[in-house]
Subunit: 681 residues, 2 copies
């Protein structure tokens, strides 16, 4: 992991002097990174992220996912980028590959996103390199950077769609055509690649592009007051700012956040007027400003609206900026928006955005199951936002959602084999949808791979005098706390069990806080240090704080009982009326037909008082915990008609549920999360 | 109503010699029409339609609907056609109005349908004129015909989209751009206008256009073997053939039906190859051949697939042709397709096509309620198909569906005020959707108006020696049966009551059949003639045949008891598991929030054994029958969270249901057809 000071020092170094690949085992140097942050911040969040490569995943659950992503997902994604012409689209000035996807009347095609797909793949692949050096992957990244370097215009502009097809139209349609969004994803890739390898060529390319963008947009004379129709660059700029400490990146992110939704005139209106020809003046089908959260200035927004991924990326950057600038109005907006989504708009799996129409939000309690869009990207982006909220204000409610999204709505997007995906994550299926090998718009594929490849960053946060555990699952890390190097090792089979041991080994005895998240879902948690019981009732806002003089060999035991529970939805969620969801620990469960043979799972009803049994099944996947119960079943076989006056016969049955994120990895069949409930049967 | 022989005689008459408007009271002359049919047919269906103007609607139910359509719907639709530029689009060679709706990459825009909207409006308006002369409407029709006449190319071609914008591209994209579909709707308009007014100018225009089409397409040398991507013209040609008796129209309809789906090469593939430029080679998003039922020859089709309206129009023409040609393979295909849709693909409201994506069919039992597409046009077209099946084979199962679609899935598409519409007819709503004033693609608006304006045609069929009653609701007509003029008057308040009286008044005593449909939904029907009980057990295939010497003053009494019933769906319909639909007579009921205040109707559960009470409510609409029952209600008010482990509280409540077709005519709110059922509560 490269520090900000090193990044600054390297600025003028010739490109051939690339730093050796930094792999696990190299000492982290993130002090300078946070030092920059401390100097710049008006209000420093006390706890801040521990960058991911410093956290080693040892537990079986994440180890398996990570290995799959490294061995299968990252390489196969590169193959797909090739097969779909996405890599070729960077090879300018060669003619761009033939148009593969149709253009809307306003010129839009999904191909305008392609730069972002490359950026996200480089980001995911860079994280993969942090775990395991791979010359082949490095060469592939370098080859893409070669192409980007050649494609870059002399003035720094770098968008391969426009450079390849219609260079004269650059910056004419920020509303629809994602130039800044692409820049943001390329930038995230460049930051990740630099952090992991120390190679700054890609970062240099992107900084040149940013200088062009900064010169073009802004409130100064001759500048356009534009911002992107798809938020993304804002959070990427914050990453660059955290890395380099250069104020201009923070300033431009601030400009983008402040400018968004200002009117009249609305920038997208002004921009549309500038474009010529009746065709280009066609409204884009989603050109209402709620779609892109630009309907009003962000500090005035109090309802979560529009395209879900856009919204989450925006809120992530807003939370970053609120912390960085000490901006109370921005913090308040984040909190109000958080409450809105949590109280009325989130699936029980932490899926977001019920509607395929706008890939986003509709109205309160509109959470249909079978048609749930709940885009993988949106749950991944919710994790980003939750992490930023957690560092803005260390409250377990944010970590609860981070965890919920991680284990359910996000992880469901990647198949067990690491090469199939869900773009939409429905909570119910009659057996039709299956995972895809690839998507017309492959945004979700690389979002889930970059998440898993960097998952370590979400387990812990550190502060000057403490460490906070957010997630559990078997990790090890060395941190500098209270002036002492502290080895931390958390051992558990979480999420299958809540029986957790944390070994705290400071080099020398030292007093600091160890904060343990007590999940919102848990009931009856117990804790001890070296066998001495700690009352968990003293936990505040989701964290139990253990402050003491820590010594080598100290062991914390935390037990989070995980009885299976039933969840009921607010009656406003009409699809869930009379239904119940099953959950154990952080995992939401579902019924899948393969475990419940005999017809569609929707034939099953769970009696309200039936005992839910958790059962460890070593024969399923790598060993999971299933839930089983007595149930009743509607009989299909004797129902010849489509409709009739006699009710279907019901017979006693049983049901078996598996974790939701594992569905659609075996034979095709029906699935449901919300199970019809039989009351007083 | 003009007869076929008159139509032929008029052929060469100068256009100024228009016949006087034929209005109700003029003697019908449809004998020749059927004579032609008898001569031409290999297998004459015994019972054949009684054209609509000969059936006078006297019952309150249809009288009200008809009056609304005449007074409000037809005039307001003409206004909308003007406001949306559709009427202006006919005014060639003036420049066409600016493009209002975006074009797909392949050139498609909904504006390519516009000719059809005009044709359908003329058809509906013509039917309206049959009920009530209206100079203003006649002038508006004539003005549109003026424009069409001027627009027509010297070679007969008449498609205003192509003539106005890209005349060189005519006939290059039958797959997507609806040229024959438009011709079919214009032709239906021309036939209706001639039938009602005797004016044949529009018919002449269309016959010139057809001659051009017949010269262009076919299996002869130099002809293209094309057929339309949207079936419609086939059934329109059959109408023209029935009207004129000219074999060429039957032959071309036969050609279109026979050619559909033949391959290799598939015509749409061949045609695409002919088009130039990469953009025009873009696949249309629905260009799989199931979408347009051209995936295989029609006689080999055994699953209902693709776009629902396309499918229904095709099957309508197939049934017409099967009867006309005595084609057993075509009849068998119709029957197999009928069974498929009835057993696995029809909503309980007779809505068809669950998916908005393809406006059509998906897989067996896929009948989601809230997202039901169930396009109004599809239910209207199902009525067309059911009528043709009924005349191919007089079986009450076809009339049952005709009636179900009429009173539910089709009629729901038109608001009580006659000026608002549903394009999609969901069976459940959380309160969001409301009726529209108009649509981007206004096909449904004129489909429902032409249906209501001509609804009389569906009540009865006649044969040489009999008459068959299919629908009830208060009608009067004079028919020639068994050589005698017979006045028939059916008196009832159907569908509110099944208490039906039929007055049979032959001018002279005569022996003939009176067939009474005993609906499939009825149980315990009783019948009598002049007070003498007739055992209804002798009914065959849905019809009770009364054969006797009829005399003036004879009165048939038919009583169809209408207790409210519960319907259950096949357990394969996953959305309806644990739910029940309420029905009384032909009417499907729904719960609407305005009648069930206190929150979304989805909070309500109906206990399985709760008594359903039918209650006449003169205060609602013009007097309807509601259903009420004891129920339980989930309490929203005390549920603060989105999800929680404690179930929502339930309280005793009541529920009130209204006929489905009447929903969304009062204040906005939630609605559901399939009511959660409480078992053993």
């Amino acid at each position: 992991m490269r520090s900000a000071s090193e990044a600054s020092k390297d600025k003028g170094a010739p490109r051939s002097q690339c730093h050796a690949l930094v792999v696990r085992g190299c000492a982290p140097h993130h002090e300078d990174y946070w030092a920059v942050r401390n100097n710049e911040s008006k209000q420093m969040p006390r706890y801040a992220p521990v960058p991911f490569p410093e956290v080693k995943l040892e537990g079986q659950f994440w180890h398996e996912r990570l290995d799959t992503v490294l061995a299968r997902t990252v390489p196969s994604q590169h193959r797909k980028l090739g097969e779909y012409g996405i890599l070729d689209s960077l090879k300018l000035p060669n003619p761009p590959p033939p148009l593969r996807f149709p253009r809307h009347a306003n010129g839009f095609t999904v191909q305008v996103f392609w730069d972002s797909d490359v950026g996200k793949w480089i980001e995911a692949a860079s994280y993969a390199l942090a775990h395991r050096r791979d010359i082949d992957i490095e060469n592939k990244i370098e080859a893409a950077i070669d192409d980007l370097e050649k494609a870059q215009a002399p003035d720094g502009y770098l968008n391969c769609w426009y450079l390849g097809r219609e260079p004269e139209k650059r910056w004419t349609n920020l509303r629809d055509n994602h130039e800044m969004y692409n820049a943001g994803h390329l930038l995230e890739g460049a930051v990740a690649y630099f952090q992991v390898t120390g190679r700054r060529r890609f970062l240099d390319i992107m900084e040149r592009y940013l200088d062009h963008i900064y010169a073009t947009f802004g409130t100064g004379p001759g500048q356009r007051r534009g911002y992107d129709g798809h938020e993304e660059i804002e959070l990427a700029l914050m990453k660059l700012y955290y890395l380099t400490g250069e104020r201009k990146h923070l300033d431009f992110a601030t400009y983008l956040i402040n400018e968004r939704g200002q009117q009249p005139p609305h920038y997208f209106d002004w921009e549309r007027e500038q474009r010529e020809g009746s065709e280009s003046k066609q409204p884009y089908v989603f050109a209402n400003y709620e779609y892109s959260q630009s309907h009003k200035p962000v500090r005035e927004q109090n309802k979560v609206v529009g395209h879900a991924v856009r919204a989450m990326y925006l809120y992530t950057a807003m939370a970053d900026l609120a912390a960085e600038l000490g901006d109370a109005a921005l913090k308040r907006a984040c909190e109000v928006l958080w409450d809105d989504v949590m109280k009325t708009k989130m699936y029980v799996t932490a899926g977001l955005g019920p509607s395929a129409h706008n890939e986003g939000f509709t109205h309160d309690y509109d959470l249909p199951n079978q048609t749930a869009y709940a885009e993988t990207c949106a749950s991944v982006a919710l994790i980003f936002w939750a992490q930023r909220m957690l560092h803005l204000d260390l409250d377990g409610k944010y970590a609860d959602i981070l965890e919920l999204a991680m284990f359910n709505g996000a992880l469901s997007g990647l198949s067990r084999d690491g090469e199939h995906y869900f773009y939409a994550n429905p909570l119910e299926s009659d057996g039709t949808p299956t995972r895809w090998e690839w998507h017309t718009c492959p945004c979700c594929t690389m979002n889930v791979s970059r998440l898993v490849a960097s998952v370590g960053q979400y387990f812990l946060s550190s502060a000057e005098d403490g460490v906070a555990f957010h997630l559990y699952g078997g990790i090890a890390t060395d941190l500098e706390i209270a002036g002492t190097k502290v080895s931390l090792r958390e051992v558990s089979t979480y999420p299958w069990s809540g029986d957790i041991r944390i070994h705290v080994d400071p080099e020398t005895p030292a007093a600091f806080d160890v904060k343990l998240r007590i999940p919102g879902w848990s009931n009856g948690a117990t804790a001890s240090v070296n066998g001495e019981t700690i009352p968990t009732g003293s936990a505040e806002r989701g964290y139990l704080t253990l402050r003491r003089q820590w010594q080598k060999g100290d062991v914390i035991a935390l037990d989070l009982p995980m009885p299976p529970v039933r969840l009921y939805a607010h009656p406003g969620v009409i699809m869930d009326a009379g239904r119940v969801a099953l959950k154990r620990g952080p995992l939401v469960y579902c019924l899948e037909e393969v475990d419940n043979p005999g017809g569609r799972v929707q034939r099953l009803k769970l009696p309200r008082h039936a005992l839910l049994k958790a059962e460890t099944r070593s024969d399923l996947f790598d060993g999971i915990v299933t839930l089983t119960a007595e149930a009743t079943s509607l009989e299909e076989s004797e129902f010849a008609e489509l409709y009739r006056t006699a009710p279907p016969r019901e017979a006693p049955s049983t049901l078996t549920a598996i974790p939701y994120f594992l569905w659609a990895n075996r034979e095709q069949g029906s699935m449901m999360v919300w199970v019809p409930e039989a009351v007083a049967n």
